[in-house]
Symmetry: C2
Subunit: 220 residues, 2 copies
DNA sequence: ATATATTTTTAGCCGTGTCTAAATATTTTA
DNA sequence: TAAAATATTTAGACACGGCTAAAAATATAT
């Protein structure tokens, strides 16, 4: 019954693509997991046989209920570990992802519970991503991308992509952390920069970076 | 350059058998790692090619300097993690081994350092085993087995085998932890029980259990 | 609507780490 | 010391999760 690390990684990636409301194709998985398309095809076959995904040839895959359950379990591990490493051991937020990427696969249920307890049953990780509870439930906020905000608006950072440490350090220098309020000053046309104010300081950042920040409405 | 988990496990086991001053044979590894003797032979070939061990056919294997370095690194991970789990997350001492067995292979150098720092550069784990420092040096005490002690003597528990959770819980109930002073009352012949006093309480334990406890002289 | 480009799958290979069965070497015992 | 028992190695197989190259299906463009 225990699943391989590889299978866990595939299921997690499928979940992550699904949650961006995109079709989970062979090529999207190939790119995300850095494996050849042919390797994805053969893994999809295996996942399908194990009833973790449904698949029709040349169409994408979809998680079944049991596949979803596994994916959420791994994501819970990942996000709990990220937060734990930051809180308990002071690991900088740009490094927690890489460490969690390995630890998530070897975390026992017992230790998961202890970490959850230690952290006081947290609901989001250092990048603002929601942490599923043991039943897979989590608080999903209705966020949108930073580049979709109207100039003049005040918003709160909901989530920041955790994959690029350099980008995270860049965000960190400006104080662009989850739950931080930012005011959008301007969004220049022709892929121009976004100018915003964070804690009284004004910054201009490029579209490429801004894409990795999602925001929610500021509280009244 | 990165070694597989399997290779790390073999090197660790080889080290552990060597440190009992026993010849590291195909069958001893087979038994310790729970794999078929033939599997050990083929892995020995690989370790030998990688210059991690020396091997002459039908004789045992010995760690080379580089093999030893790897083994001590993994053992450092294992023992630091055991202690960390107990201290930071309250994992009971009979469970830390199993958890460490998995985590030891995915621990980064950075996290190793942070854990070491958190624990104040500890020199022994919850079972009394010495923790090697980053250079592989550790404090090896001149211990002997509990069953070799003369009746009447007062000794201090140095180390307790970490492999059997049930045994550890049994020891725990009697307070048989490392650094605890015990007085040996009697050792009955014909594989008879050992009677000893721990913190004022008298217990009799069998030889089979006593074998897993090693002791040093009590301080003057 | 057909040709071209792209995506996906199939076919076949490889390294890792395991296994069983059989052969060979070593050790023990009679 | 020769026979029997035990330990080790060899030979050959298998599951896993990758790969490349080529075939097939789908999507795009002319």
């Amino acid at each position: 019954m225990a699943l391989s690390q590889s299978i866990e990684d595939y299921l997690k990636s499928i979940y992550e693509i699904e949650s961006k409301h995109e079709n989970v194709t062979t090529s999207s998985l190939s790119e995300k997991l850095n494996v050849a398309p042919a390797s994805v095809t053969s893994m999809i076959k295996k996942l399908s046989e194990k009833k973790l995904v449904t698949h029709k040839k040349y169409q994408g895959v979809k998680l079944t209920n049991s596949g979803l359950k596994v994916a959420l379990e791994i994501i819970r591990h990942h996000r709990l570990v990220e937060l734990y490493l930051k809180e308990a051991l002071g690991v900088p937020w740009d490094q927690v992802h890489e460490e969690a990427e390995k630890w998530e696969h070897v975390l026992s249920e017992d230790l998961e519970d202890r970490i959850d307890e230690y952290l006081g049953h947290p609901t989001s990780d250092p990048h603002g991503s929601p942490i599923p509870d043991r039943n897979g439930n989590m608080i999903e906020r209705d966020s949108r991308n930073l580049i979709e905000v109207s100039p003049g608006a005040k918003v709160i950072i909901a989530e920041v992509s955790d994959h690029n440490p350099e980008l995270l350090r860049y965000f960190g220098k400006m104080g662009l952390y989850p739950e931080t309020e930012v005011k959008i000053i301007s969004i220049e046309p022709f892929q121009g920069p976004i100018t915003l104010v964070v804690k009284g300081e004004e910054y201009s950042i490029g579209r490429e970076a801004a894409k990795y920040i999602s925001v929610v409405e500021a509280d009244a």
